[in-house]
Amino acid sequence: MVGRRVLPTVLAGLVLVGCGATPAPAPAVVPAALATATATATATAGASDPGDVAPPARIRLPSLGVDTAVVAVGVDARGEMAVPEDVRETGWYRFGPAPGSGAGSSVVSGHVDDRVQGRGAFYRLVDLAVGDPVVVTTAAGADLAFRVSAVRRIPKSTLPVDELFARDGPPHLTLVTCGGTFDRALGSYRDNVVVTAVSAP
């Protein structure tokens, strides 16, 4: 009789501890690589050259119910695009054109998800359809309207980076996250999801 009463109480306690403890590993698990990336971005903050176009501050994907902050990012220690550590934020590649510039690809990237932090801002990016609206709000408060013109899933090994990060050619917006299967040995996804959007005033 006593045993029956004790059992459910203690089990409930275990589950609570489990949920509560989930975020705890974050400081240990989010390690040096990201810290380095952040430091690099900070050190080079003065180099941003968006011309006379204000940098992006927010991005909205109304069809997915996404409305998230955009921060300026550079490259990480491995020479890849730096992506904000907080998966709820997205990062604009500040060495390339800002959305609304006259030429080239404005790249905004966000994490798809994370075991510790949960779903990222671009968790459902792959669900965007051609024609869906994208709205970028600049730091100056202007809303720039775009429409999705392509949604692609590309293996990371063949990602056409010179196309994604082109600084010339017709102006467009490129949204990037990860997708495909997760390679546990590499600790990363195999593919990138790449969404192209063009101005739709």
Partner: protein, 272 residues
Amino acid sequence: MRRRFLLAGAGLVAGLLAALSPMSVASAASTATVYVVHGIPKTPVDVYVDGQRAIDDFQPGTSQGPVELPAGPHKVAIFAADAADGSGSPVLSADADLPEGANVTLVAHLDADGKPTVTPFKNDVAKVAAGQARLVVRHTAAAPAVDVLAGGKPVIQGLTNPNEKELTVPAGSVSAAVAAAGSTDPVIGPANVDLKEGTATFVQAIGSLQDKSLGLVSFTISNLHSSPSGVPSGAPSGAPYEPGPPAWVLVLGVAGLAGVLFVARQRVRSER
């Protein structure tokens, strides 16, 4: 003016490139790209190419370019700006061939002993890694060996006239100065230099230490950027989001359950 300069530069480059180590022939275009730096203090000059005046009254401490010049042989002569046109003895002259596709800087400057000379430099216009900038420093001043300081610390050491050294650094603003080799006491600067991503900045130290006329002439070549190598927008912790409790919670749960059952059983037993 621009067209005439074009011709002039061609000849000058041609003459001077003879002394250069083999230049890479970068393209099939029959032109080369040329910058000209005037680093001889107090001496405005006129530059003549193949007998015709190409740059009139070229002021010290300034640069001109870039200009695309036809490849091929030319005769170049530099006269003091106040000399009668094309007559008398030139201050400097040169005679040689300009390779196709070359990108060069011609620096008219003082040698280490203070005598006027012209030195051609090949401009490194290779792509720069994403997020980085290239800085090239040229010692073309009448001065002994120098160190280049960034933020007060030497980043280039023992640079002598007429040589150059290059660095690749994270893009951004840097406080740069030039000091006598082995010293951190600036003889030029410090000055803030904005090194933009994907560019190469060429800085020429000019003038004379003895005459207190040291200075810098710089220009920047853009569009040398590279793309980042990828977009690591997956799980920053190294594992993806998994709805439900993570595996270790389940393991703990099972272990805890076993413990609880054991304790409960012990209790029941002791109550008996």
